[in-house]
């Protein structure tokens, strides 16, 4: 989402992120630090950075000091893109093996009263819904602050506002939410054992950490007691002269339902023969014994064959038919509303089927995996009612979503104790949403977070860049274009523009400087068909920030090339950096444009482009080319600049 803000707000945001701190040794007037800070701040997820040997590297990481507040690696000149492909792959490998836990979803209890940004998920009686999709008809799960009882509550009204201020972000291993400043956050006071409500803005400047405990579990639940479960009666088909089933004791039914929901399926209805078989698969000896003793208590016959239990009964079959296939399964609400005892029986039966139990020192973790979105939500609801602290891990397997819910009974505490590092804030301009509840005013929300990668360089790294772009690694390539090899003292590079005098293309009696036009890295990147490529400039940091945000949000490679007016290269006064940058864009020498998902957009078109001379004369490096004898050269530069811009206009129309 693009942010409309002024430069002061941006500066504040960058300061808050503080990805790169003071003490670096860039030259006076050098824009590199500004560019790096702006771009790295645009990610709402942790950033890992790989840098080429460059000005940015030698000025920021002089051992034993470093300016970087984010993980940062440098190995050699030409390989930063290759390095990041290794890092990104290592991330994938370890994510796959569960060694890195980031990018999992976090489940948490926070308050309403303030507002949520979109995509925050709220637990309703029909599972999780995005806050922006809630309506006054929905009934949500709320928590009674006096006894931590789970209770349903109607939404009286949905509020939707435009909001332009800070958002408070809490990012703790167990808790993740982004809320407005006035948002009420319920915290647990360990001393008086009471739930207290504080404003989110208070989180930003609190002193004592022991007070800020977010509730993540240990909720109470009083269910509705039932003695029996009654299977709906049906009209038996011919040949099935059976007595309708009588009442089934609720404990037995709940246990059976747990086994069936996790491991069961039904026979397919056949046109020729009426077969009404219910199956429960199980091969583990201990599991078989448990299921068998449950089935024996049912008023039904069963038998075990090969790897499954089989029950043949049309009435049971017809009732279970409503649960559909594995991806549609759910827990009926009358079952979810039973008291804790039955819910525990159901929970244990589900875990026996589709779950695993991991024993830790202080806790047991019950992992339940399903491909049903609804069953996932229902299982979370049951786990919360049983007092577990609950995590959700979503992923895609075989092109379909798969969910793992992990319920922890961590003995010491289910409170998330927030430290200063868990709480940040950022500016936000957009819609916010708030459900107004009839009572309690404490909701159950869920929000995710994830990692992204970033970096920086032009010439000899191009091969590694091209390789990494083609392979489609998920990373952002940031190139600051300072128009030469500045780290080694201003030699000509392929980014050096025509007419520039450098130490290896010095102007002299028979040379005006570099003879060739610069290489267009943006177009080279575009030719790789990556999702996002942009050109930006230092005088318009908001544009740069927005482009960086887009780049980070894209799945796959993104490239940003930023004009970095280098005083040493330009041979211009150091206070002129921004003014010269602006001239570069106003003269169409450095247009601001982006190429997003195959569509090119020019972000800024000068009303009247100024002559290239105006830009060149600010820099001593072009002194020779501006002399009257080189009039023809100057003309060719102007023609090339205009041609490149016209090409962009044509591409924009495509």
């Amino acid at each position: 989402m693009l942010i409309n803000m002024n430069i002061k707000e941006l500066a504040k945001r960058i300061d808050e992120k503080n990805t790169m701190v003071f003490g670096h040794r860039t030259c006076a007037g050098c824009p590199i630090a500004i560019i790096c800070r702006t771009v790295t701040s645009a990610s709402d997820k942790p950033v890992v950075c790989s840098s080429a040997t460059s000005c940015a590297e030698v000025t920021t990481t002089i051992y034993p000091q470093t300016s970087w507040n984010i993980p940062w690696i440098h190995s050699v000149f030409a390989n930063s893109a290759a390095t990041i492909s290794g890092i990104e792959t290592a991330y994938k490998a370890q994510k796959k093996k569960g060694k890195i836990k980031k990018d999992i979803n976090f489940l948490v209890i926070a308050g309403d009263g303030g507002c949520y940004i979109p995509k925050t998920k709220i637990l309703t009686t029909n599972g999780f819904k995005n806050v922006e999709d809630l309506t006054a008809k929905d009934i949500v799960w709320s928590v009674n602050p006096n006894n931590l009882n789970l209770e349903t509550s109607e939404i009286i009204k949905m509020h939707k506002y435009d909001y332009k201020d800070k958002i408070v972000k809490v990012n703790h291993n167990w808790v993740h939410f982004d809320v407005t400043l006035e948002h009420n956050v319920p915290v647990y006071n360990k001393f008086n054992k009471k739930v207290e409500v504080i404003k989110a803005k208070q989180l930003l400047n609190y002193g004592r950490s022991d007070k800020i405990n977010i509730i993540c579990g240990d909720l109470n639940w009083v269910g509705k007691t039932e003695k029996y479960f009654v299977l709906p009666t049906i009209n038996y088909s011919k040949g099935h002269n059976r007595e309708p089933l009588s009442k089934i004791p609720i404990d037995v039914w709940v246990e059976f339902l747990g086994y069936w929901l996790s491991e069961g399926h039904l026979s397919i209805k056949s046109k020729t023969r009426n077969v009404y078989s219910t199956f429960i698969s199980q091969t583990k000896k201990s599991g078989i014994d448990k299921i068998k003793s449950c089935l024996l208590k049912l008023p039904l016959n069963h038998w075990y064959s090969q790897d499954r239990f089989i029950i043949s009964n049309q009435q049971l079959w017809t009732y279970l038919k409503q649960f559909g296939k594995a991806k549609d399964k759910f827990i009926p609400s009358e079952i979810k509303n039973l008291p804790k005892k039955q819910l525990q029986t159901l929970f244990d039966a589900l875990i026996l089927g589709d779950g695993t139990i991991v024993n830790y020192k202080d806790c047991k973790a019950y992992r339940f995996t399903t491909i049903s979105k609804q069953l996932k939500d229902d299982f979370i609801e049951v786990s919360l009612k049983l007092g577990y602290r609950t995590h959700l891990d979503s992923r895609t397997r075989k092109n379909r979503p798969e969910y793992t819910v992990i319920a922890y009974d961590y003995k010491p505490t289910t409170l998330a104790n927030l430290r200063k590092s868990h709480i940040t804030s950022y500016n936000y301009n957009g819609k916010i949403y708030c459900p107004e509840l009839r009572k309690n005013h404490i909701l159950i929300i869920e929000k995710d977070g994830r990692i992204s990668l970033n970096m920086n360089s032009f010439d000899i790294g191009l091969q590694a860049l091209s390789g990494a772009l083609e392979r489609g690694h998920d990373f952002v390539f940031l190139c600051y274009d300072n128009e030469g090899y500045m780290n080694t003292g201003n030699q000509r590079s392929s980014a050096t523009p025509k007419g520039a005098s450098t130490t290896t293309t010095p102007s002299g009696s028979s040379s005006f400087g570099k003879m060739e036009f610069s290489k267009d890295l943006v177009k080279i990147a575009m030719a790789h068909n990556v999702p996002y490529v942009a050109q930006a400039n230092t005088h318009n940091l908001i544009d740069l920030y927005n482009k960086a945000q887009k780049a980070f949000s894209k799945k796959g490679p993104a490239v940003i090339v930023v004009f970095a007016a280098c005083p040493t290269n330009m041979k211009a006064p150091s206070e002129q950096t921004i003014a010269i940058s602006k001239l570069a864009t106003e003269s169409n020498f450095w247009p601001l444009y982006e190429y997003e998902d195959g569509k090119l957009t020019i972000n800024y078109k000068p009303e009247k482009r100024i002559a290239i001379e105006e830009f060149l004369k600010t820099q001593t490096k072009f002194k020779e080319v501006l002399k009257p004898k080189n009039k023809e050269i100057l003309k060719s530069i102007q023609e090339e600049v205009d041609k490149r811009f016209n090409d962009l206009l044509k591409l924009e129309k495509l």
Partner: protein, 387 residues
């Protein structure tokens, strides 16, 4: 015990499969290619859950391996010849960052003229980049040393090259005894990186600029790590014996410590040379063979024992040091010069053979040994060269 028909390249890929490496960054070059091809088949058949990066060059292959290893993943790559030379810049980065990367090298001649066949000029040109090196005789040893090296490397936090002879070993199919998957997994254990770039809660800067006031000490730390290799090697060898019942030594002593005339040779040539030694010993000739396995670091003091009786040492090598001497010869001379306590120093002869894959016959090896035994040592430095 399972015996499989494997080439050297396949044996190494099989070892990596059993280790279960996290990231394999690959770029093809003959004769290393069978390693990455075999491994790619494991990936295609779902036998491993390794993430593979098919890079656009060797420079990027090792760069990506470095990035992955610095990010806490057990990461490997493989190469040969010009590929190794193209990686050269990255070699010192891997060791400087103390990353335990295992890289098989299928030894091949270097250009110009271009030649794809075996000699040791590629890995021998990278002796001083802070990488350990082991040289394997055959596919069986290549398999075992790959598993061994993974653990050794992670214990020393130093990268290692597992060198096999291009074609002679990489493409030759022999019966290889492989260990149980679980035993291999248990032997190498979990990878415990010294640091992890992906720990975003504790951001670190890797690869900083060190000026003259700090650089020397940082490099010395890496040099010092080589002093620890001997004890680490012994301890990993002990574990290896316990797990698989097999001895791993610094070198192979084939009658060397009891012989007056010793032939020193690396890798696959030792197999033919051993036949010659057997033949000559059956004729009551006092000859033995010494085959260094761990070649970097070269444990000088360890070579006194197998050379304790030697009066003549013939060092036969598949690489040359233009304007100087071949590397193993120099190391043997240093051993004798610095560590031998005997008054009478042995004669040490240096010969070069088989560059660009030219084969050496057992007859040529026999002639060489006989010439020394008969006190008329061959003067010719290059064996098998056309006059």
């Amino acid at each position: 015990m399972t015996r499989l028909g494997l080439t050297g390249g396949e044996a190494i890929a099989y070892a990596f499969k059993q280790i279960g490496v996290d990231v394999f960054s690959m770029y093809p070059i003959t004769p290393q290619t069978p390693i990455i091809e075999s491994f790619s088949r494991f990936v295609a058949n779902g036998e491993v859950d390794t993430e593979v990066i098919r890079t656009e060059s060797e420079h990027s292959a090792l760069s990506a391996t470095i990035g992955a290893c610095a990010s806490g993943a057990r990461s490997v790559t493989a190469t040969s010849s010009q590929g190794l030379l193209y990686m050269f810049e990255m070699l010192s980065v891997a060791s400087g960052l103390r990353l335990p990367i295992v890289m098989p090298v299928a030894n091949r001649a270097i250009s110009a003229p271009i030649n794809i066949h075996c000699d040791h000029s590629d890995s021998m040109s990278a002796l001083d980049q802070g990488w350990m090196q082991v040289y394997c005789e055959n596919a069986q040893e290549a398999y075992e040393m790959t598993i061994f090296s993974q653990k050794l490397s992670e214990k020393c936090y130093l990268p290692i090259m597992v060198c096999i002879d291009g074609f002679f070993t990489s493409h030759n199919l022999i019966p290889v005894t492989v260990f149980e998957d679980k035993k291999v997994k248990d032997f190498v254990g979990e990878f415990k990186p010294a640091y992890n770039l992906l720990d975003t809660d504790k951001p670190i800067t890797v690869g900083a600029l060190a000026l003259p006031d700090t650089y020397f000490e940082i490099r010395k730390e890496m040099f010092d790590a080589f002093l620890e290799v001997k004890s680490n090697y012994l301890s990993v060898a002990k574990d290896f014996k316990k797990s698989f019942g097999k001895e791993i030594n610094f070198y192979e002593d084939y009658f060397s410590s009891q012989s007056e005339t010793v032939l020193v040779v690396l890798s696959s040539t030792a197999q033919n040379a051993k036949n010659v030694v057997d033949k000559l010993r059956s004729q009551k000739k006092d000859v033995g063979l010494l085959r260094p396995i761990l070649y970097r670091p070269f444990l000088y003091e360890e070579y006194i024992k197998p050379l304790s009786k030697a009066k003549n040492i013939i060092v036969l090598e598949r690489s040359e040091g233009p304007g100087s001497f071949s590397p193993v010869y120099k190391d043997i001379v240093l051993t004798i010069f610095n560590h031998s306590t005997t008054k009478e120093k042995p004669n040490i002869y240096s010969h070069v053979f088989g560059l660009g894959g030219r084969e050496i016959s057992e007859k040529e090896i026999e002639e060489l040994l006989l010439s020394v035994l008969n006190k008329k040592p061959i003067k010719k430095r290059y064996i098998g060269i056309k006059e």
